[in-house]
């Protein structure tokens, strides 16, 4: 037991240090003028994408279901914020509160069909629904602006880059704690049993499909919030937010970071975005190498650290202890 409490204490200390660094980061970056401002923008995007990756991992890592359509709910959230703030003059706060609700409704409808299927068939159906939503947004010019998207989302005056960064960080931390509570709740344990053994879960009395659907909806809601935040950061929403390639990003992030931990996908997502931008900074043409770097990174992870960076870190800690 002593070992348990000491390891959870180090976890808390690490967590608090990371949060403090994250809060102070923009103050430090502001010293570097334009470059600093750019990196604040990048960091905000990292926070948002980390939330998106964590939301997917509720289904992927904790629920054991591979979804290729998660970006659809991210996109629904983005368009909710875009449409409400631009066309209905909603204040940003309210629009961001509605985004997870509309995304959850979309996830409930899509999920209702998808949880009827298992494994690969589930994955393909989420892909199909995701692309369906993408096509609707892409084609519906009068409502979504079609392939142009929605540009010029208003930005409240108080949200300079630094303030908006802090705002997103606070939202992220709130979501992090709520997700943490969810995965360690009775519901979270029920979801894990469906991941571990569908048949046994059924035979202890768990209505597997109902729990999978609930989990799908919760994950969709968090993705919707992340989408709404990204729309506000970019000040536009575009159909690409819903595209299946966008759905792949949180999957890759979870793979790299480690899907059996809560923070893993967030770490993976941040590392991947950092690598991509780092490459870009060396020379703009290097971006073309991104696919190769990404492929290599994933190859290394799959072969040498199948439980991701978090798993690698845990293994190293264990080695040092013994």
């Amino acid at each position: 037991m002593d070992h348990m409490t000491s390891s959870s204490r180090t976890q808390w200390i690490t967590g608090i240090s990371v949060v403090v660094v994250l809060f102070v980061l923009p103050v430090f970056l502001n010293e570097f003028g334009r470059t600093g401002e750019y990196w604040i923008w990048v960091s905000t995007e990292m926070i948002i994408m980390a939330l998106f990756a964590m939301s997917l991992n509720l289904i992927l890592g904790f629920g054991g279901m591979v979804s290729f359509g998660h970006a659809a709910f991210f996109g629904v959230g983005a368009y909710t914020v875009a449409l409400l703030t631009k066309k209905a003059d909603f204040p940003l706060y309210l629009a961001l509160a509605v985004a997870p609700i509309t995304a959850a409704i979309a996830a409930a409808i899509v999920g209702w069909f998808c949880v009827r299927l298992l494994g690969l068939y589930f994955a393909i159906l989420t892909l199909a629904f995701g692309q369906l939503l993408y096509m609707i947004v892409f084609q519906w010019y009068t409502f979504t602006g079609g392939d142009d998207g929605i540009l010029g989302i208003p930005r409240p005056d108080i949200f300079g880059p630094t303030n908006f960064y802090w705002f997103c960080l606070v939202l992220f931390l709130l979501c992090f704690f709520v997700m943490r509570m969810i995965v360690s709740s009775s519901f979270g344990l029920s979801i894990k049993t469906t991941r571990e053994n569908l048949e046994r879960a059924k035979f202890i009395g768990i209505n597997v499909k109902r729990y999978q659907l609930l989990n799908f909806v919760i994950a969709g809601a968090f993705a919707g919030l992340a989408g709404g935040m990204l729309a506000e950061l970019n000040r536009f929403a575009q159909p690409d937010f819903l595209h299946w390639s966008e759905s792949a990003e949180p999957i890759l992030a979870s793979l790299v970071g480690g899907m059996y931990s809560l923070a893993g996908p967030a770490i993976g997502s941040t590392v991947l975005i950092f690598l991509k931008i780092f490459l870009q900074q060396i020379h703009p043409s290097m971006v073309e190498l991104w696919a190769i770097v990404l492929g290599a990174a994933i190859l290394v992870v799959v072969l040498f650290a199948p439980s991701g960076l978090v798993g690698l870190y845990q293994n190293i800690c264990k080695k040092f202890q013994s």
Binding site: V178, M181, I182, S184, S185, S186, F187, G188, L189, S190, K192, T193, E196, N197, E199, R200, A201, K202, F203, I204, G205, I206, N207, V208, Y211, Y260
Partner: protein, 251 residues
């Protein structure tokens, strides 16, 4: 005294034209410890699958505690008080032994839809879980990942998970399959003890005749798509039909 907890009436099932059962009927009395035997392919596990709702019969009724459960979902049948342990261990491998038991208790108490309270915050559930772990002899392995347990212990855990559901009727599919001779008898003693202590009706499938005739009050023989015979062990072991059809080569 003897009221049936489970009645099978006129049960038939076929797979792609292959008849597995034709019009099988029997009933299990409350409080009984009984065995189902039969040659390989007689459909013993299929019978369990039909009773627990994993399969739907073509014809017939399955009355559990006065209610026809044909067509009900497995998880709803479990909630009526029927649990099973599996022939091949069927646990949650990347969860601890303790978690395996706790989730079964939480599900029995219908507490699965608590989203924000930690699952391990209830002392009462923790106590119950340890009682069950003690009764199946796994209390010292509570924090171990269940997938890393030895085979025999995994089977015990499987039984523990079923017990955590506080069933009225417990179906055990070859509870000692794959165990070493010592483990076998230990587990048989355990089953007998649990049955004595917990007031559960138990039906088990088993190949080992020493075990079957050693502990069961009643034996049912499945053979050739139907129930060949049922009765107390002494009667079954003397039954000519049974000896001919099944025990013949062995006894």
């Amino acid at each position: 005294m003897a009221t049936p907890i489970l009645s099978i009436e006129d049960l038939s099932k076929s797979f792609e034209g292959n008849q597995i059962f034709s019009s099988v009927s029997f009933s299990v009395d409350e409080g009984e410890l009984s065995a189902i035997i039969g040659p390989n392919g007689a459909g013993k596990t299929t019978l369990f699958n039909l009773i627990t709702g994993a399969l739907v019969p073509d014809k017939g009724k399955i009355i559990f505690q006065g209610r026809n459960i044909v067509g009900m979902e497995p998880f709803d049948i479990v909630r009526l008080g029927m649990a099973r342990a599996f022939q091949r261990t069927n646990i949650f491998p990347r969860m601890t032994v303790f978690e395996n038991i706790v989730i079964a208790i939480i599900t029995r108490l219908k507490g699965n839809l608590r989203f924000l309270k930690p699952w391990n915050s209830s002392k009462k559930i923790e106590r119950q879980a340890f009682e069950i772990l003690q009764s199946v002899g796994l209390a010292d392995k509570a924090d171990q990942q269940s997938g890393t347990l030895a085979h025999g212990n995994q089977k015990r855990l499987d039984i523990g998970v079923a017990l955590a559901l506080e069933p009225k009727l417990l179906l055990l599919d070859e509870p000692v399959a794959g165990m070493s001779p010592d483990e076998r008898w230990e587990t048989v003693e355990l089953i007998k003890e649990l049955w004595n202590k917990m007031n559960i009706t138990m039906v088990f499938i088993e190949h080992d005749m020493d075990i079957v005739f050693g502990i069961s009050q009643k034996v049912r023989v499945l053979c050739y798509k139907s129930l060949l015979a049922q009765g107390p062990p002494s009667e079954i072991s003397a039954n000519k039909q049974v000896i001919e059809a099944y025990l013949g080569e062995e006894v």
